[in-house]
Subunit: 133 residues, 3 copies
């Protein structure tokens, strides 16, 4: 009940809706009740749950996060130059968990699960783990 999926990001900052992939995995496995955890093994990317309707929400979130955690900063020391990405990753978090009930995800009407790229474009992975119960 652990799987690893690949994803290709196309921008430096990007929120990619992976809800369908998670839902399909849960249905394929056939688990009726429990939780599903979506885990990002990268330190400059993360997972969040947010609005699935208006794409402008993603724009505004990424735009403001980039102002709060700017790419350039006179006090940054990390030579790789992507400290902002690490800050954004810890802000949204490395993983999110969603309840499984009657074989489906318990998401709000406007909720989608997002892979958040903060230092792309890159080839990335994420894990899906189910706990029954």
């Amino acid at each position: 009940m652990l799987t690893k999926l690949s994803i290709k990001t196309t921008k430096r900052d990007e929120m990619i809706d992976i809800t369908d992939e998670i839902r399909q995995f849960v249905k394929d496995v056939g688990v009726k009740d429990g939780i599903v955890m979506v885990y990002c093994p990268h330190t400059t990317a993360g997972i969040t749950i947010n609005e699935n309707a208006d794409p402008d929400v993603k724009h505004d979130m990424l735009m403001r996060l980039d102002e709060v955690y700017p790419w350039e900063h006179s006090k940054y020391r990390h030579m790789e130059g992507n400290s902002a990405s690490h800050l954004k990753a810890s802000t949204v978090g490395s993983s999110q968990s969603v309840i499984i009930f009657s074989g489906d995800l318990v998401l709000g009407q406007w909720q989608g699960i997002y892979f958040c790229e903060f230092d792309g474009p890159r080839k990335r992975n994420y894990f899906i783990k189910i706990l029954k119960g």
Copy 2:
């Protein structure tokens, strides 16, 4: 072992202590060991764990979050006008999990579980899910 509770918020930004509801649910169900997950199905609200004593902590947290993610911003595109709420929701997170041991929550002395409203007042819901083990 899944339940849905309703909550009525009274302000645009508000942290409501729901620790007693979570603790009571755990006791009612009678689970001795495991984790309890509290999940918010809304994209402009979230769940966090923070100080349960001085209400000024809530004031300061909501005040500063509103400065970091301001309501008005010349670069916001989302027509609904609540991009700040979405940013705050992803910052605190859609869910929190707490350990259950000997039939009770394992919380620090000063910790409470909060439903965080970031676009109220509204009628809201949250889910409580227990995993034994």
Copy 3:
């Protein structure tokens, strides 16, 4: 499968790598599959997962978090004076969960699990809880 560990922090803001302690606990318990949850019972500290290689990443993260959530602010009301610590704690989160597979942690190559001190130096604790499955 619940344990409490102590940790001594040495600065006001500090990220301490606790990956080895978590990995060792998982191996000692001998669980092959499941998740391990690391929980911080304090409201001015938290847990995050981020880069384990260049220590400058920790420097940059703590430096910028301190600018985003400043120690001094004319509108803070909390008499204890550590509202910034509470904000940082809710931003990184009270807990993180990691997948266990074949008896080991499923972490990315550059990922470490960090205890985040935001109001030290202090003697602190954290809990490790395993759910099999």
